[in-house]
Amino acid sequence: MSTAAGEGRTNYLNAASSVKSWLLTVDHKRIAILYLVSITFFFLLGSIFAGMVRVNLLSPYGDLLQAATYNKMFTMHGITMIFFFLIPSIPAVLGNFLVPIMIGARDLAFPRINLLSWYIYVVGGLFTLTAGVLGGVDTGWTFYTPYSSTYSNTNVMLTAVGVFITGFSSILTGLNFIVTIHKMRAPGMTWSRLPLFIWAQYATSLIMVLGTPVLAITVALVALERGLHIGIFDPALGGDPILFQHLFWFYSHPAVYIMILPSMGVISELIACFSRKRIFGYGFVASSSLAIAVLGFLVWGHHMFVSGQSVYAGLIFSLLSFLVAIPSAIKVFNWTATMYKGSISFEAPMLYAFGFIGLFTIGGLTGLFLANLGTDVHLHDTYFVVAHFHYIMVGGAIMGFLGGLHFWWPKMTGRMYPATLARAAALILFVGFNLTFFPQFILGFLGMPRRYHVYPPEFQVLNVLSTAGASILGLGYFLAFIYLLWSLKYGAVAEANPWGAVGLEWEIPSPPPTDNFDKTPVVTHEAYAYDEVQPHAAPEVSRV
């Protein structure tokens, strides 16, 4: 197989250049790029909403925004970031690009359905954007009834339709991955040789396929009640508002694992590569992903400990929530053990992996305070919860996404980014993130409720710190955005295997040809066999 990528060689990027060749492509790699562009757009949008929230909270009196506007900002921040950025981020971008290549296939099982899922995502996004342009929505991303179904006079319907539609894109992506991983692995790519990134995508896909329909049903029921006054959730119409919470969290708690599991998969790849070691306890790391996917479906009630659900339900959901923490702990211990006696280098992707371990550990451990019945009563619906889930979703999921993006960027684009700037950005993001969200743990413990447009003055100092952190965080994202864009044109040309990594994706040129492999590869080694396989392009040139 070829090793270095010549400038003139035909690859998936320069194979065709018309707009039509992009919009009608069925190449999984091009679809990944389409997703990357679209989720970046929604990430920018969601960040602007977050910025408005943080600036407003500089003052206890809500000087910047009116209450109604503030409520729309945090609502649209949540909806945009969760449904249009985080959920599709790793699966639809890195997963789309890498799942076929990592298992030695030429494309996903259903390339046209793959393209369809992007169009569905875009249509859902347009509905939600329209809702935003027409004045926004103020229900919180959780759409709690009967506020959303009866009382809110904002654009709930349009947003709900947007979320409903986008869900199908997730379902189709999940379905595509499951079938691909089952049916299209190259000869020799047994289940026990799968890269852990693939195991994580597989577990995520199961949740997408099994969980998302429930969200669609729930949102449809809200729309029925709102549009046709059919009593489902509003007690004034004979409904039960707590029923909504059961249905909503049945999807939305597993959705947290849709966001974090793929990141865990990325981290396994990064730590193995930059420690030049097999992952310690491969079987445990792989099966813990499945354990999380299964147990994750049984813990939704921990969002409802103060909702009025029965004490016995609370006890069972708390017990199960503690159980789901164990597989995550197993992963963290195994990653740490992988570094033992390794050969550790500090490239930018590895810095993101370090950041991930630190932030995810804090995010995971603070989850114990919320799984715990005794402490959750006090901490529920306060800033403690906000801090906790941002440690998981930003500290975990986004750090993982950025780590993966920096790791595979040379493969996807054929270009290297400036390494020093990339390390600096990782560091800035880590500092900015902690300054933004750590004070919120304390705010929550002190009792500051979330979703407050104004707040008592004793909370101001910590809020100012948090906003200061958010501006540093914003700077880090901006920096990464700029040098990644810059590298597309001016970055050094990437080799096939710039990191000296093992894995099928590193055995083909950067960027890969449209068909990925000239001939179907035969796999003879386990994943991460850094001791057995001499990486094809050992990094003889010093890496920028």
Partner: protein
């Protein structure tokens, strides 16, 4: 009291110390594990940093012993956390007997509270120190949540049902009351304060209001006014069952099912009378939905309670 930066919330109820002790235990365990990971990652990153480009570390596949250790120890600690938390939660969910009962209605965007003697307050609740207070709560519109950080209590206030919470304040002072469940535009303004007073001061405060109709008295008046009394004759000879001694009793329905006549059942029977009809009676009662507000419904329930309660059934 409300100015300056602090890092610990005030502790002003009998449960606050118990919640904080549990919280401290969690903090200690979590700091230990986070510290352990942090130290190990740092040590490994320094000690095993790559010294030459062609380094090839010896592979380690794993260790069943280690996997078991770092599964079982966290699992055991998690079970301790669960058990302790469950114990605190059950205490928080079980009001002690002979509590002073305060009735709470949440509505966009205010708290309405009523004392047993009929005193009403808005966004403010005066209570005596050292006395157990039970809150029986419902909402007139969307879901709210009654949150007093200094007492470490929080409970959602849900339309169409009654939820309860309780506290016993341990020191006099003013404590913030928040709505913790997002309830619409002015959610952040749905705040108030709990004024905890020495018992003598509380008595004086109560007297300050003059003669006030108690909830049961108001309920009796509504019972007349809405004509309930025409059918619900006290001797049981009317077209509807007698309500004397009803509260807390087990009632058999036309479907042969039984139901405890608690606040939720009586509430439902007023706004949706056909839902659960008592065996032996025709479903002839009209609905009073929209005619009587939540305050009025609570007063009627208070009146029915005053007609005698079945303590035995209630204690179950």
């Amino acid at each position: 009291m409300w100015t300056g930066v602090r890092f610990l919330p005030e502790r002003a109820s009998t449960m606050a110390g118990q919640v904080d002790a549990l919280l401290l235990f969690l903090v200690v365990v979590c700091v230990f594990f986070a510290g352990l990971i942090f130290v190990l990652v740092t040590i490994f990153a320094i000690k095993y940093r790559r010294r030459s480009a062609d380094e090839k570390p010896r592979p380690i596949h794993g260790s069943l012993g280690l996997e078991l250790i770092w599964t079982i120890i966290p699992l055991a600690l998690a079970m301790v956390m669960f058990g302790w938390g469950a114990w605190v939660y059950i205490s928080l969910s079980t009001p002690p007997a002979d509590a002073m009962e305060i009735f709470v209605v949440g509505k966009q965007w205010m708290w309405k509270l009523q004392h047993p003697d009929g005193h009403r307050e808005i966004n403010e609740l005066h209570v005596p120190v050292g006395r157990t207070v039970k809150l029986t709560m419902t909402s007139e519109d969307v879901i709210h949540s009654f949150f007093v950080p200094a007492f470490r209590i929080k409970k959602d206030v849900v339309p169409g049902r009654y939820t309860t919470a309780w506290f016993q304040a341990t020191k006099a002072g003013e404590y913030r009351l928040f709505c913790a469940q997002y309830c619409g535009t002015s959610h952040a303004d749905m705040v108030g304060r709990i004024v905890v007073m020495e018992p003598s001061a509380y008595e004086a405060w109560l007297r300050g209001g003059g003669m006030i109709e108690s909830p049961a008295e108001a309920g009796a008046r509504l019972f007349q006014q809405f004509g309930c009394i025409g059918c619900h004759l006290p001797d049981g000879k009317g077209r509807a069952p007698s309500l004397v001694g009803l509260f807390g009793k087990k009632v058999t329905l036309t479907t042969k099912q039984t139901v405890i006549a608690d606040e939720a059942y009586i509430h439902e029977s007023i706004v949706d009378p056909q839902a659960k009809v008592v065996a032996g009676y025709a479903p002839i009662m009209p609905t009073f939905k929209g005619l009587i507000n939540e305050d009025g419904l609570a007063q009627i329930i208070a009146y029915i309670k005053s007609l005698g309660t079945d303590q035995k059934a209630k204690a179950e």
